[in-house]
Symmetry: D2
Subunit: 238 residues, 4 copies
């Protein structure tokens, strides 16, 4: 009865993505063929920053949670292991298009990125331990929504798969991961509170991720106009 | 040289508040004399939720931080002690206008409130230990900005100081606290990184707080239209 | 120069074990053929309790550590995954000799066990992130030392491998793990501080584990004399 | 009925102290008038190390605990505030008898000290939030037991109160604190589990503290014999 309705959850994901893809000026810029290497790089820098924490907050669920259902503890550690180091693909992609990787390592995340990171640790360390699956639910199944955006970037910037390793790798891995997430959701969601917690985290983590796009866009404009030196290192290719 | 410029910091606060007070539909509703007890209650429920964590995340700064400058460790514990239990004033205010306090205790924070809570723990537990002062800087000095809003609520709803204990108490306490925060900022901010970290947390925590107003407004409309039963207990006075 | 000398580290382990095996009254009882099912069970209950935390504190190293060397982050999550759920083997062993597993689940660890658990979280969450390898170093390579003790228990109590799954499984798994630990130690120990931290944790975690044997022995005597009802459930076979 | 019996708890404290004072070679050395400045210093270095964490783990109880009874949250932050910085008195005492304070700051705690620190964080962060009062119960009421030991040190080494600020200050403060702890225990202990948890932490934290005396004694012998250079800086007065 309280079993989670994955189709319904997917509809909510789709509805939020629809809103994002329709209203995000960052997405519009890309879809209009106006992406630049700097825009792609700023986005990948933020991707680097939050991805660096994903294996950690994934493992944290099982570090903090007691008596997790079935093999959920094992899943969390296994999935953390699989996600470990993926930020290095984002870093490699940025380097591959000619930018200074050390400057990326020295950079700080934008406020929206810091907020997503904070939120994912919070919902991993406290509350219903099942709820982080709400993040994985959409994050491991993102390509149906953003594929046109990635294709537009690739085409506009003439990128090869070597410049987009982060997305290429994930589009492959995530199919398997999405199946595992669905299986875990079916196994772990036993009460209405489980379903509500998963749904809340799905919605909020997706909304907070969309805000990163807004922050990237805002910073990109400051970069373009010369008002901000935050990304000065993107003015010269390495 | 790297000394923090408190006047400049205050200007940034003022500029964000200006934006919030100008653009928030929640604020507009109140300033137009259309506040209802339910709207005030929904806002105070969220205030209850995040206030409950403020003493905790304040203390966390000194639990996690090593070799903090001067009496900053002592300040953090002292301030945590002074903030402890303040959420009970918010709860009392909600009860005082006829709503069911137990329903408040059983309620969950809205997504924007959960996000602020998460962010404040994150910036308290990690990063530059000085940075949480950026939150205190505006939060302990909020009345110059929101006083007209509080007056409008009071007047529209015919509230007595007994119905607004949370704000009455804080408007008094916070003068002292604001002085202490300024003193701590002068003492702790010794590098550009200190100043940047304080500024970033000031801006982001204020923006995330403003988003609570948006969430409250959205939920209030769902409440008014009957689309959501989240606050069903606000339909009947206790 | 600062490379860790694994042979020297092993000598220190051997010397501590020598002391423990020579002086522990718990070990003497077993080696004299006087082990009882209750004595074995009390020991396995404590094993259950601390094992329950080993995957967690292993993962915690990589959750808390930033910029860990090489594939050490990945190793921590992988090893946590491999250790997850091993406490269930200890529980199964206790059940298999006729005792009430639910009573084990409801039991609390003895003070020495609680202390080891506390210590392992502490050295995993703080200090040199490499240091937990000092625990793994001896813990994954324990059978050379305790094999005669296990054989004595098995023989005295007529146990089958089904009653000793925890030890049988680990004696197999741990060979592989010990190799991995050695490899990690060679890779991660780059400074004298790394070597010192690993050595300190090796020594202290082994000493704290030996104290569990003392606590088990003390409780066993209280159990035998009837002075304590802590393990009343071991008086009746399920 | 489940009210805590403070007299009975005190009897248990007395019995553990009796054992420690009777059997500790460290205590014997001092009571035989053979204390040296180096012995006092080594002990005070360990005191410095664990005291540095006491305010932190005290506050942690209220950071981690939800819905603590009565004013227990407030008490934790208040007491943390009062304990903050007390390690500096220990440091000052060491300096006052001619030793190098910077070497103390650079030193690492002995294994037994690290273990006590780890244990206090663990019982503060997890389990029954009331249980840390079991540590305060004996720690704030220690002078009846150790006064003869302090007097012997003072007399043997011709120390003035300026050389023993840590103990002089605490002997005054702790009377007030002990009353507050008793009051909190009466207020917070409502179930048998509360009483058991407090008792367990009282016993174990006192035993772990006594082990510091043993570690100090062992290191002192290595220092005297020249086998260890850990405290080389105690060979020359500053």
């Amino acid at each position: 009865m309280e079993k989670i309705d994955l189709a319904k959850l997917e509809q909510k994901v789709a509805s939020i993505w629809d809103d994002v893809l329709t209203n995000s000026p960052f997405i519009h810029e890309i879809m209009s063929g106006k992406a630049t290497k700097a825009l792609y790089a700023i986005y990948m820098i933020e991707t680097y920053h939050y991805t660096k924490h994903n294996a950690k907050n994934q493992a944290l669920v099982a570090v903090m949670g007691n008596d997790l259902p079935g093999n959920y503890q094992s899943y969390c550690f296994h999935h953390a292991h699989e996600e470990a180091g993926h930020e290095l693909m984002a870093l490699s992609d940025i380097r591959s298009i000619g930018f200074d990787g050390d400057a990326v390592l020295a950079s700080k995340p934008l406020p929206a990125t810091e907020t997503l990171i904070a939120y994912l640790y919070w919902i991993s360390a406290t509350g219903n331990p099942v709820q982080r699956l709400g993040y994985s639910f959409w994050a491991e199944n993102v390509y149906g929504y953003i594929d046109p955006v990635l294709k537009a970037i690739q085409s506009t910037l003439n990128l090869t798969p070597q410049n987009m390793k982060f997305f290429v790798a994930h589009s492959v891995i995530d199919d398997k991961h999405a199946d595992e997430v669905n299986e875990m959701l079916e196994m772990c969601c036993k009460t209405q509170d489980d379903v509500d917690a998963v749904t809340a985290v799905m919605e909020n983590s997706l909304v907070l991720t969309a805000r990163i796009l807004d922050d990237v866009w805002k910073e990109y404009q400051l970069f373009q106009s010369g008002e901000s030196d935050r990304y000065a290192f993107l003015r010269t290719n390495a």
